[in-house]
Each structure stands twice: as structure tokens, then as C-alpha cells.
Symmetry: C2
Subunit: 211 residues, 2 copies
């Protein structure tokens, strides 16, 4: 998804190809730095040095640091969602849900459980201190929750999931288990907590299957 | 629990009563500031100004900022655990587990869902950047998980919970639901996500009850 038309900056509407590329490079660099050091721990001079751009270029494209943070939230959401398609569009069986959650566990193992969730860590840092960021994070989490909720709703429409199951609540519960599980796994440097957290919710969802 | 004998600082062993009081005031001030601004966003001069102490007093008691961060993690864990006793020592029925989780939801509602979890937010910020803090956070989460695990184990020992239930895994799943649910609730400014997250895991635990 093209983030250039959605986030921050006075010049976002009419960029040349070169301008779009520079803008993207700034966002990607800022996203990488903020993932490791947090948004507060990443300064404009840090981003300048790492992206090889001037401060005035950053202000030109994003207005201010807050504008850049909003663009980073959108970028991380777009990137993570894009990476997990088409699986994310077919979460309409318990097997697909388990496969999707297992994939995230394997990615955690691959990086030694460092790093946590790209959105979750920005959320924890910014939810109380930056109202615009919080609003953008609401939409980021909604975009994650949407495919889970749609998948469960399709299962229910096909009569595979009990009509009494609250598919929206179950989707939220699974997203929360993913977030909390990733945090515990990041701290403990083991994906076990994540696996146990999502497994409990997936077993609970499975208990609503119509046999 | 007395944090003065557990955390940071070269002078921790032999403090006068006045010294202990000053040390506690620094920790409490730092904890409050770090809860709102993060550990990175809280400088030694910020803490000096808010606690009315000199930089040399802070370095005297904690060695460096990292020592103070470790003391804050212990302090937040001690305080939150102490606040929730005796309920935390009697989590050996599904009703007690629900009451305990409901209490946290009410506290979130009372503060408009601002603030998240005192430990979780430090965990998200520090798990990758500060190895000593990560180790201390492992122990903080273990101290939270312990009472849940013990409660479930007592239920199992009494034959109320199926012998096939993995009580340690269920305790981790509930802690993860609490953490992930609090994060989503903090972003969405509504305790609904927290309530749905813990409810799914509690329902799952309930499915292991021996009727």
C-alpha cells in the first residue's frame, strides 16, 4: 500500500518520483531506528545521519517529528500486513489461524525473540503521550484485527462456528494474546509464552466449532 | 517488600533512616516520571527537580541511571503486588480469578484507560536495549505469574481442575492476555479489549474444570 498519500507532511500530495523515493527512504530509516530505540530515543539528527538526508528534507516531507512518527506507524502496519498476505485473507479455519500464529512464532525464534511487535512497541510508548499517534494506532490495530474478525465471521456464516460465538470479541482476544505473548517472549527470550498465549485462545475458539 | 536491599547502588547495605527515606523518594519520583514518559524520556535532571535532590545523591544511591531503572522495576513490581494482596494469594477458584481480573478492568476504567501496565510498559521499552533491565523484568513477570500458577496448581491438586491441564501454560496465557489486553485498552481508551482478552482465557481455564 502506498503510504505517501496517507500520512503527514505538507508536501504529500504532489511528489516527483525522486521525492517519493527520498520520502520512503526517510520513513524506512526512521522505522528501523524507532524499532530498536523507540520513537523518543530516535532524534531527527539520528535519522538524517542514517538516511543521508538533511533536516530540511525531513521537515519538508513530514512537517515535524510527529508527522514522521505517524508515517512510521502507517508504514509498519502496511509492511507487516503486506508480508502476511495472502494468509491473512484466508483466516477462516482453525488450521489457518494456527498456521498464521505459528508463522509469527517461527519469526520470533529466527530473531532470538528480540524486537517484539513493530506496532505494539510503538503503541506502548506513544499511546499516552501523543494523541495523534494514539488515533493512528487505533486504526493500525483495527487493520490487524479486521482479517481475524472477517475469517471468524465467514466460519460462522458457513455454520462452522457456533452462532453464539462473539466473533469480534474472539478476534480481539486473539490479537491481545499475540501482543501480550510477544511481549513476554521478548522479555524471556523464548517464544514459549507467545505459543502458550495464542494456543489458549485458539483452543477456546476451537471449542466454539460446530462438530 | 523492602526494595532497599535488592536493587542498585553501592551504598545499599548500610543506610541511615534518613538515607532510606531519600532513596525511596528518588525511586518513587523516578517511577512516576518513567511511567508517564518512559525510562528513556526521564533524565537525571528531571528526577532531581521533581524529587528535590542533587545529582550526586542519585549517583550515591544508585551508581548510575541504569541502577535507578532496576530499582524502579523492583519498586513497581513490589507496589503492584502488595496492592493486590491478599486476593493474589487466593487465586484458586475461577471466581477468584475473575474477580481479580475484573478489579484490574475497573482500575483501568477509573483512569480512563490511560497508563497501561507499569511493568509491561517498561518491558516493552527496555527488553532489547538493557540486558540488566531485561533480567529484572523476567523476574518481575515471574513474580506476577507465580500466584496465578500456584492458584491453578492448588485447584488441580484438589481435583477441581483436570489433571490434563497445563497449569503453568494457562498461567502464562492469562498473564499474556492481561498484558495484551491492557495495551489494546490503553490505545483504544476502553477496557473492552482487556475484558474480552481475559474472558477468553478464563473461559478456556473454566473448560478444564472437573464438574
Amino acid at each position: 500500500m502506498d503510504t505517501s498519500v496517507k500520512a503527514g507532511g505538507p508536501e504529500r500530495q504532489r511528489l516527483t518520483k525522486g521525492g517519493r523515493r527520498t520520502r520512503e527512504r526517510i520513513i524506512e530509516t526512521a522505522a528501523e531506528l524507532m524499532f530498536h530505540r523507540g520513537a523518543r530515543g530516535t532524534s531527527i539528527p539520528d535519522i538524517q545521519a542514517a538516511a543521508g538526508v538533511s533536516a530540511s528534507q525531513i521537515y519538508h516531507y513530514f512537517g515535524d517529528k510527529q508527522g514522521l512518527v505517524l508515517a512510521v506507524i502507517d508504514h509498519q502496519t502496511d509492511t507487516q500486513l503486506a508480508r502476511q498476505r495472502p494468509l491473512l485473507d484466508s483466516l477462516d479455519s482453525i488450521e489457518a489461524l494456527r498456521e498464521w500464529c505459528d508463522g509469527a512464532a517461527s519469526r520470533q525464534d529466527d530473531r532470538g525473540c528480540e524486537g517484539g511487535c513493530e506496532i505494539g512497541s510503538l503503541a506502548s510508548e506513544l499511546a499516552d503521550s501523543d494523541q495523534s499517534a494514539r488515533t493512528r494506532l487505533v486504526s493500525a490495530f483495527d487493520r490487524w484485527e479486521g482479517p481475524i474478525r472477517s475469517g471468524l465471521a465467514r466460519m460462522q456464516a458457513r455454520g462452522e462456528l457456533s452462532e453464539h460465538a462473539d466473533t469480534a470479541a474472539l478476534a480481539t482476544a486473539l490479537l491481545a494474546a499475540i501482543q501480550g505473548g510477544m511481549l513476554l517472549s521478548q522479555v524471556r527470550r523464548s517464544s514459549t509464552a507467545y505459543r502458550q498465549a495464542v494456543s489458549a485462545v485458539l483452543d477456546h475458539i476451537e471449542s466454539h466449532l460446530v462438530r
